[in-house]
């Protein structure tokens, strides 16, 4: 902007900043709503008018992690007194925690959460590992039909998941990979690999060729130069690519819905299935959603300078 500003320009600028703040509040309201519902007493989650400010409690998270049943009659005061604080919160709601002997029975949520973590981490490591090598190959060597190969690689990413899922479901059924972690990991690697190649190629292209050439002159082999010079230079790019792949696998729904139902089911198909019939307990669902969204929110902040690159497959950088 020009150094001298007219008063109308200043006013316009202020109005624009005010509008940004209002827009930000509107955009964050749904996120605030789900996060706050996770800490609400049950009756406030569905109150009319909606409750904005309240005394937060962690009871929804206790319900999220435990198996419970409705109590037919009030709890024995002695049992109540002897119970730990978190169990009292469940008794307060007219329910009791199911136990086998002394062991508290956990709900399915921690299992599903772990499944998401296992599948997302392993598929990310494989997709980024393979993608880094391939991106280096495309970045440094002459390849006939390079543009076509790269288009082929990217086009696999654009396939609608349900389209790929139909034949994969049939093939997995034949080899017994349905409802298995390995089955889901393979699908997520296939899905993320093209993304990782494209993004890493952008990062590789930015590392000057002269670095390796100097190393080759000094007597390094090409492989040594790759591992000792290129990989350390590409560390930031690898980290950013990994976070993107992790988020994609973590969020994925269609494949998980179709390929898993119990043992290997991940959180995205599980969380909506909790609604079930009747009046849903929104506080518990919100608690599960909150924990599930938390890692993504943290990663978004860590990734903030690479988001543009990530969403354009490395084509556009700042």
């Amino acid at each position: 902007m020009a150094a001298v500003r007219t008063s109308s320009e200043v006013a316009f600028n202020r109005a624009a900043i005010a509008a940004v703040l209002v827009a930000t509040l509107i955009f964050l309201a749904p996120i605030y709503w789900i996060a706050s519902t996770a800490f609400k007493p049950k009756e406030l989650a569905v109150s009319v008018p909606p409750t904005v400010l309240f005394q937060p409690e962690v009871t929804p998270f206790i319900r999220l992690f435990t198996k419970r049943v409705q109590m037919q009659k009030p709890v024995d005061p002695q049992v109540y007194e002897a119970a730990p604080w978190w169990e009292k919160r469940i008794y307060d709601g007219g329910e009791r925690v199911l136990k086998v002997g002394k062991d508290v029975q956990l709900s399915q949520y921690p299992d599903r959460f772990m499944n998401s973590l296992i599948v997302a981490v392993i598929s990310t490591v494989l997709a980024v590992g393979m993608g880094t090598f391939t991106a280096y190959g495309f970045s440094r060597f002459k390849i006939a039909g390079e543009a076509d190969l790269l288009f082929f690689i990217l086009s696999t990413r654009m396939l609608p998941p349900v389209v790929v899922a139909i034949p994969m479901f049939l093939m997995y059924r034949m080899v017994g990979l349905n409802d298995s972690h390995i089955g889901l990991i393979i699908l997520y690697v296939a899905f993320n690999l093209s993304f990782s190649v494209w993004l890493m190629k952008g990062f590789m292209d930015e590392i000057p060729k002269e670095y390796e050439e100097a190393a080759l002159v000094d007597g390094y082999t090409r492989m040594q130069a790759f591992f000792k010079i290129v990989l350390p230079e590409a560390a930031t790019g690898i980290a950013a690519t990994a976070v993107f792949c992790f988020i994609t696998a973590w969020n994925e729904y269609a494949f998980a819905l179709i390929m898993t139902n119990r043992r290997a089911q991940t959180a995205p198909p599980f969380i909506p299935s909790q609604i079930g019939s009747g009046l849903p307990d929104w506080t518990t669902i919100a608690a599960g959603t909150f924990l599930f969204l938390l890692p993504v929110a943290i990663f978004t902040f860590l990734l903030r300078n690479h988001l543009l690159r990530g969403v354009t497959f490395g084509a556009i950088r700042k």
Partner: protein
Amino acid sequence: MASVALTNLDPASRAAARGWSDLTIRNLFIIPTLVFLIVFNIFPLIYSLGYSFTNFAANRSEPWQFVGLQNYRELLSDDHIWSNFVITAKYVIVSVAGQMVVGFGLALLLNRSFPMKGLITTLLLLPMMMSAAVVGLFWQLLYSPSWGPINYVFGLGDFAWLSNPDSALYAVAITDIWMWSPFVMLLSLAGLSAVPQHLYEAAAIDRAGWWYTFTRITLPLVSPILLIALIFRTMEAFKTFDIAYTMTTQPTAELIAIRLYKQAFQQWDTGKSCALAYIVLIMVLAITNLYVKYLNKVKER
């Protein structure tokens, strides 16, 4: 395929003399990825192409029969399928148009310096990083008829956004606009920050008005990147499954991907669903081709 393509290396490469040759390394780095993608993406598609010419049903053990092009013929003359495509087209137009307007609008507002700009921009980007299925779930809470905050704020009483046949599709589109406007905003911001400042200074010296500056300088220079955002969002909106599937069961909001899912995994009409998958696939590949073409164009600049 790949090994034929990979044959002309720089003969002057010094590393060729030591350790593995560049040719070996190149093949070692590239071929596994290509093989993996062919095995797990292309082979399944060939497999389902075969099934698309049969009456195979995955939940029955009776032998299937070859039916030629019958599945394709039936699908293309099925009014139900056409209505799914019409619903999808409506959804794509409403949600992508909404995202372009809201996203570009936000970018225009953000394109100035003010305190905490970085933090606010990152906060605005949060929705697009979230799982669409989970976003669909918690918007159900927001849209709840009697006690949902949206109806309360707008004074809509117990209007049932998601179970009303007339509004279900638009309710999903609004959620999609919320989720993906940040994507358009992010790309637009990059486009806006690349417009050379001296053009604006020259316009200011000429006393050009805001509208003139906007239509003659800003818009033409940002349009290539806006086009990228438009094509990418169109492609993604066309494929939408998660968000609509978790939000509503209304037939008026049955997008083509949901129809495909139901045909394959609820009606178990496997052969026909493979044929429908191919029809969808060809449409998606056409848009992808366009997308990559423009992406390469923008990249070269």
